[in-house]
């Protein structure tokens, strides 16, 4: 019997094609790399880094390193509304110093800075994240355990992570509770004992350890706006041997409280945040990585306090102009029991603006202006400042991303000024930054 084929059955054909598998590997990442030169001769000099020094005059044309993060994640189970996934992130970077002036550690294909760690000198490799997630287990939240960057908050143009309670931990993200979402996590800090500290017995337990408990609540207000409150409480947890020999100030807990308001503005957004911290959590307000370290044996013991105000955003003007901007003010009051704390004991104000003009779908020009001034709290400290003007010609697929479009190829020239701009004041180079 002949098969009866009436009309074209597109369905039969299409139905035989499975929809795209939900368990494809998700590949995300970030990279920056390039080359630079001091106009007066010598390698590029930068005044900020991707780490503790952030970029208080803005990061455009102020990056002397190569840095990359490669993140692989996969959903491994999906049934009955429950999904499980695994995420890992490896990071690699060339050497960066802790000081306020960075040398350029990039060179030929194998070599970086001679003094740095391997591989092949000057390269650093690290497992930054290794965690698993479970959704649909506790309400609509995501349960996670492992090593994770977590719910970081950043100001991109300054490479400043004003909240970064990252590390090994366990927690629950974005559980609907009332009109908003609640998140909670337990994370730890562990540091090797500072040899300069006298007296703490670390035999058998070379790490001094703190627990941090982090609770957040985010809720929409006034329609499109959003308010988020964050509280982090840090408390050392010492072994009996450590407790017996540590001074009392190393046993105190401290906290960081933060409130942030987000609002849509001019086709983009504006965020205003205020942070207040006590004891060792002051550390992250004065450098980079707010909420990361609770280590009163390093810095900020004895009732130290500090606060920071931030306002930042990305907005658009018409079809061709976008603007990223940031303003921060921080002040600490660190008990100077340890002279090594002095470099966190100061007051700082900085502002960065990065307008960009889009010529067409691919080409844009950006100008970044940055200014920072700070003054140490100790008597006799002078106010010092640093300024930067960077002009960059950029190529990136701007069709949709605009300010956020990557990869972005740049030719830049930077000029620094102010008290802290040593003799190295004009740099130029080429850089690419990408994230995906």
């Amino acid at each position: 019997m002949a098969n009866f084929k009436a009309l074209p059955i597109a369905a039969a054909v299409v139905a035989s094609l499975a929809a795209m598998s939900a368990s494809a590997v998700e590949f995300h990442g970030y990279m920056r790399a390039g080359i630079g030169q001091n106009a007066d001769g010598g390698g590029q000099v930068c005044y900020g880094n991707g780490g503790g020094a952030a970029h208080y005059v803005g990061r455009l044309g102020d990056e002397c390193d190569m840095y990359a993060e490669l993140t692989l994640g996969q959903e491994v189970y999906n049934r009955d509304g429950k999904t499980f996934g695994v995420v890992s992130t490896i990071a690699y970077g060339t050497w960066e110093s802790l000081g306020s002036v960075q040398g350029d550690s990039r060179g030929n294909s194998w070599q970086a800075d001679a003094g740095g760690a391997g591989p092949w000198n000057g390269g650093r490799l690290s497992v930054r994240e290794m965690y698993a997630t479970g959704k649909g287990l506790v309400g609509d939240s995501t349960l996670w355990m492992g090593k994770r960057f977590g719910q970081r908050k950043d100001i991109h143009i300054m490479d400043l992570f004003y909240l970064m309670n990252s590390g090994y931990g366990a927690g629950i993200d974005s559980l609907s509770a009332g009109p908003g979402k609640f998140s909670f996590q337990w994370v730890q800090t562990a540091t090797e004992q500072d040899p300069a500290l006298a007296g703490v017995d670390t035999s058998g337990a070379p790490y001094l350890r703190s627990n941090k408990l982090d609770a957040r609540y985010s809720l929409p207000v006034f329609g499109d706006h959003n308010i988020e409150v964050v509280g982090i409480y840090g408390k050392p947890t010492l072994t009996d041997a450590q407790k017996a020999t540590a001074s009392d100030e190393f046993k105190d807990g401290g906290y960081l409280a933060m409130i942030e308001h987000t609002m849509p503005l001019l086709g983009g957004f504006n965020k205003v945040a205020f942070q207040y911290a006590t004891n060792s959590l002051v550390d992250g307000l004065m450098t980079n990585f707010g909420g990361l370290n609770y280590a009163p044996w390093w810095v900020g013991a004895n009732g130290s306090t500090g606060y920071r105000f931030l306002d930042h955003g990305v907005v658009k003007f018409g079809k061709s102009v976008e603007l990223g901007y940031a303003l921060t003010y921080s002040k600490s009051d660190i008990d100077d029991a340890d002279a090594g704390d002095a470099w966190r004991d100061f007051e700082r104000m900085n502002v960065v603006v990065r307008p960009m003009y889009k010529w067409n779908d691919v080409v844009s020009t950006a100008l970044e202006l940055g200014y920072v001034e700070q003054q140490g709290n100790d008597a006799g400290q002078e106010k010092t400042d640093l300024s930067k003007v960077t002009l960059a010609q950029q190529w990136s697929p701007l069709q949709n991303g605009g300010f956020w479009a990557r990869p972005q190829f740049r030719l830049f020239v930077s000029q620094y000024g102010g008290d802290n701009a040593e003799d190295a004041d004009t740099m130029f180079g080429a850089q690419v930054e990408a994230w995906w």
Binding site: V13, A19, K153, S218, D361, Q393, V413, Q415, W436
Partner: protein
């Protein structure tokens, strides 16, 4: 000296703005495009009058709809169209159509497939396009994967948009949110923007040699669409079913785009004048019915369908019920 040097480099950089840039399509913004749409003169009142550009089996290109295209006054609204003659392909193949979201605007496409006689064989309404978020270096877009089996007999593809689509918008993921997801940051708590649907836009079109797995969740295309977006005349309210004999009784699928039945283009002159059903001469009606019966018996369903459509255009009211009856009893 330093300052002068700095200024020279700055000027040199700025001056290179367009020379070193890639040529990018100049697509007007939505307001300008709506004005162009009103002012443009419609080119055609029937599909036969469209100028179709042939595309080859390896076609892959960015196609800008910028207001210089042919304008057709469909029943669903005025639209600039892309009109392509599809590659002659014995095997089935797929066409992936991405409409890129740019500057908070996007062209919301609908697709019309025509056979060699310019009869509509398939219509994909704009609601069937799926929003696909930016991934890697590919931007946010509206996507549809059109898999064309050879039995469909599709020869021409017309890409258009409708008034109903133009009144809508597509919510897409804010680029700051995509950045946060990629970089393990907390959600930025900003509302997602909405891209307004525009009469112009940028398409990324790719023809593949075989069927293509859809990127997004697409509704399965089940039925052969019979209807018309052009003026009055051959608009059918009943459609054929694309099923085996066992389910030939299934109700026909309605005209999918409700707006297609709404507005009748005022200036359109129908090529086929509307003829009231039942007004056909008895002899010619019988003639058609006979030919339909013979075609079904010979299992030439394509021909039978064409006969039914012709007969209906001429005013037959019995051709279609007869065809359905014939198909039911076919073994």
């Amino acid at each position: 000296m330093r300052g002068l040097w700095f200024a020279c480099v700055a000027v040199a950089l700025a001056g290179c703005s367009s020379m070193l840039g890639l040529e990018s399509p100049g697509v007007p913004d939505r307001d300008a495009a709506l004005a162009m749409r009103e002012q443009a003169v419609p080119c055609c009142t029937a599909p036969q009058q469209l100028k179709f550009t042939p595309i080859d089996p390896k076609f892959s290109a960015l196609v800008a709809i910028d207001g210089s295209e042919q304008l057709v006054e469909f029943k669903s609204g005025r639209s600039f169209v892309e009109a392509w003659r599809l590659p002659a392909n014995r095997a089935g193949y797929g066409i992936v159509i991405d409409s890129m979201i740019r500057g908070e605007e996007v062209f919301s496409p609908a697709l019309l497939l025509l056979d060699s006689q310019f009869n509509a064989v398939q219509y994909i309404s704009s609601e069937q396009f799926v929003y696909v978020p930016a991934k890697g270096m590919n931007g946010d877009r509206l996507n549809y994967t059109l898999n064309i089996p050879p039995e469909l007999g599709a020869t021409y593809l017309v890409v258009l948009t409708t008034d109903e689509a133009l009144s809508g918008s597509t919510e897409y993921i804010h680029p700051a949110r995509a950045y946060a997801e990629a970089q393990s940051l907390s959600d930025p708590n900003v509302p997602n923007p909405k891209a307004k649907h525009s009469p112009v836009g940028l398409l990324d079109v790719r023809v593949e040699g075989t069927f293509v797995t859809p990127v997004g969740e697409q509704k399965d295309v089940v039925d052969r669409w019979v209807g018309s977006l052009w003026g009055e005349g051959s608009a059918a309210t009943a459609t054929e079913t694309a099923t085996t004999a066992a389910s030939a009784e299934q109700a026909a699928r309605a005209v999918p785009d409700s707006s297609a039945a709404m507005v009748v283009a005022p200036a359109a002159v129908a090529t086929a004048t509307a003829v009231a059903p039942g007004s056909m001469l008895a002899e010619t009606e019988a003639l058609y019915n006979d030919m339909i019966t013979k075609a079904v018996a010979a299992r030439d369903i394509d021909k039978a369908l064409k006969l039914v459509e012709e007969a209906e255009r001429a005013g037959s009211a019995s051709a279609r019920p007869l065809f359905v009856e014939q198909v039911k009893t076919l073994k």
